[in-house]
Symmetry: none
Subunit: 401 residues, 2 copies
């Protein structure tokens, strides 16, 4: 039995409040053997005080050795098996520009490219044109009409955009048109399964018209499509857990992921500094609060160890304000590790701290990767975090008599 | 989704090298409560130095409480779910005499036995005849011809041999013919499923002829067949992981297990002393090196605690030579535990050490069973060792966007 099936059966009403503070990319590595990680280096008096009286552990985001993208990382945190619910690149790109994907939408990531007079790709990224140029070209393409469906186009960044088809009966299994190398012509969209034949045909029509629109441009005189995918059919947090949930996130992609699982998104939150106020203001209206902090990840991606340390300390500084609201359960963790040493996401287990009145002490006195090995939560897959949070919030009935 | 499906999807090319040093039967028990295990007693300065800067843990070979044979033990290490890929006794016996099983082969373990004038078994092991006698009898049986298939016979040891049928459309589900007790006649081979009817018939014909060949012998005047099985259809390490892999093993069974998963076997390695040289000589030609050391298991099986300690120290002595080759990932572990106290394989979790530049420190300073409890890898199933090794070797792409 799937754990979410159990959740549907066992969840019960409660006045309790759960806050999940996600420091994106939390958890790292020492630069040199024998050194400290970013979290081990950071001064985190509030987190340390919290872990001392509560419980911690380490979470495997997907499976041992698997490095997740942001999509699977967050789905796991929200209790959705990331191997069961896979989010296509096109869908994630649409979420990233805060496009509200509907159930009939198929999204593709688009790249402008340069082709020669024989329609052979000579630059897969069209000389990395600026966002200014990219925006103009996307606007120009909005003249395209594909019969029988609605077409939406949104610029993302530089040479990247997203193309969405909306209509009944579309399929998400269409192969990429990017041949993956220069010296080849863009591929024609082809369906991987019969149910996606029509979608492939619609994208072929779109590309044909786009070629006309772009033919006199330079260097962006053609495009390729990748990661064509439907919005996955995901049950909401309310359906699974009975939780009214809300996202207090600044970045579009994390808001989009929250929307995918049915969370309300506080779109008025434009800045990290507004997060605590928004949390306080919406405290009575929701049961579950997803608070997302981006910069522990982006500094890790950039390889800035010292800056990731400082961002971790900023996360620590958010704790007292959250505790003032007196949540029944406070979880602090990440969606995956982003060690500055690797300048990328990694597969290492993520430190996690759970604070509630029902925590059993585990003797850990500092919130860092090494100490979390000794935590009372042990090592577990992220998808079990939600059941643990619900249990500590008094939101799960007994299983069986 | 199976983890090996993920591996097929995520593996990427790399120049990195992975060495997996398997000390067979590593991990044991103290003889008396309060004492040390074999690994805890052994002086292992090289392993201790390695664990200090890297990471360790404990592996469950199959599931908690399950004691594996060598087959499932090694399949787990190579990342194959031992519950999914089961190796019949006959197949293992054929591997153990280095018979190269093909995809159309069905193998059975044979035992010589003694029957009386009414064909009732009076000794299931034919008085444990010597290998000398066994070899002669197997040679004599080579006159047997079974129509429509090739028959191969190999002596194993004492009263044991292996019989292999090779032909199209054979099935591996045929019941044992050993009735399991004296005072009964050998059973006739019967198929457990319709697809194995013909195979059962072919083995009946073989047994009929063997009865003729052996009838004037004493005490080995009949035989029984057990563990009749086809070679399992296992994808290769190259297919699953994209790894060119090689086995540096002395004993035929481990070479055979390596061949089952598509490894090249360095057949010129005849002795433990030749292993390091063979590793060095083949360093450029492969990505993954399975180095197998037998005597930590056999001394455990024999119940020689002190000798197992000494063999463990020999394994420790192999470390500097391996490190000179500068592998990107070095794994040191066992396929199962063989506590001298039990004189057999056991279900206890196996100590495992993983050394790579991307290891997170875990505070462990000695490589032994007790310290490994506190290792950063936690406790996990053996089949996740390969994903971890690949991740640390930079051979896995990110999952999802």
């Amino acid at each position: 039995m799937d754990v979410q099936e159990l959740m549907r059966e066992l969840h019960q009403g409660s006045e309790s409040k759960i806050v999940m503070l996600v420091a994106d990319g939390l958890g790292g590595l020492p630069i040199e053997k024998g050194g400290q990680t970013e979290l081990g280096t950071a001064s985190t008096p509030n987190l340390d005080a919290l872990v001392k009286d509560n419980t911690c552990g380490l979470m495997t985001p997907v499976l041992p050795g698997i490095t997740p993208g942001s999509g699977p990382g967050h789905l796991g945190l929200f209790g959705y098996d990331p191997l069961k619910y896979q989010i296509g690149r096109g869908v994630l790109e649409a979420l990233g520009v805060e496009f509200e994907l509907g159930p009939n939408d198929v999204a593709a990531r688009g790249n402008f490219c340069t082709v020669d007079e024989n329609e052979i790709i000579i630059d897969r990224r069209a000389g990395r044109i600026s966002s200014e140029v990219g925006i103009r070209l996307v606007e120009k393409m909005k003249s395209i009409q594909v019969e029988g469906v609605e077409l939406f186009l949104r610029h993302v960044k530089d040479y990247r955009f997203v193309a969405i088809l909306r209509g009944e009966g579309l399929g998400g299994d269409v192969h990429d048109t990017d041949p993956g190398a220069i010296g080849k012509a863009p591929l024609s969209p082809t369906a991987a399964v019969p149910q996606s034949e029509r979608t492939a045909e619609l994208f072929r029509e779109f590309i044909k018209q786009a070629g006309e629109v772009l033919k006199d441009e330079h260097p962006a005189n053609m495009l390729t499509l990748r990661g064509i995918a439907r919005r996955p059919n995901i049950p909401t947090m309310e359906e699974v857990y009975g939780l009214k949930s809300v996202a207090v996130a600044v970045y579009p992609m994390y808001r989009g992921l929250a929307r995918l699982v049915g969370m309300t998104v506080l779109t008025e939150v434009q800045d990290t500094a507004q997060q605590l106020g928004a949390l306080r203001k919406n405290w009575d209206a929701f049961d579950f609060f997803f608070v997302h902090y981006k910069y522990t990840d982006s500094t890790g991606e950039d390889g800035y160890f010292a800056e990731k340390v400082r961002q971790t300390e900023i996360v620590d500084g958010m704790i007292p304000g959250i505790l003032e609201l007196n949540p029944d359960v406070l979880v602090v963790t990440g969606d995956h590790c982003t060690p500055s040493k690797l300048k990328s996401h990694s597969w290492h287990p993520i430190p996690v701290l759970l604070a509630a009145d029902t925590c059993r002490p585990d003797g850990v006195e500092q919130f860092n990767e090494t100490q979390c090995i000794y935590g009372g939560l042990g090592q577990f897959e992220s998808r079990f975090l939600m059941p643990l949070a619900l249990a500590h919030a008094g939101r799960l009935q007994k299983f069986g008599a």
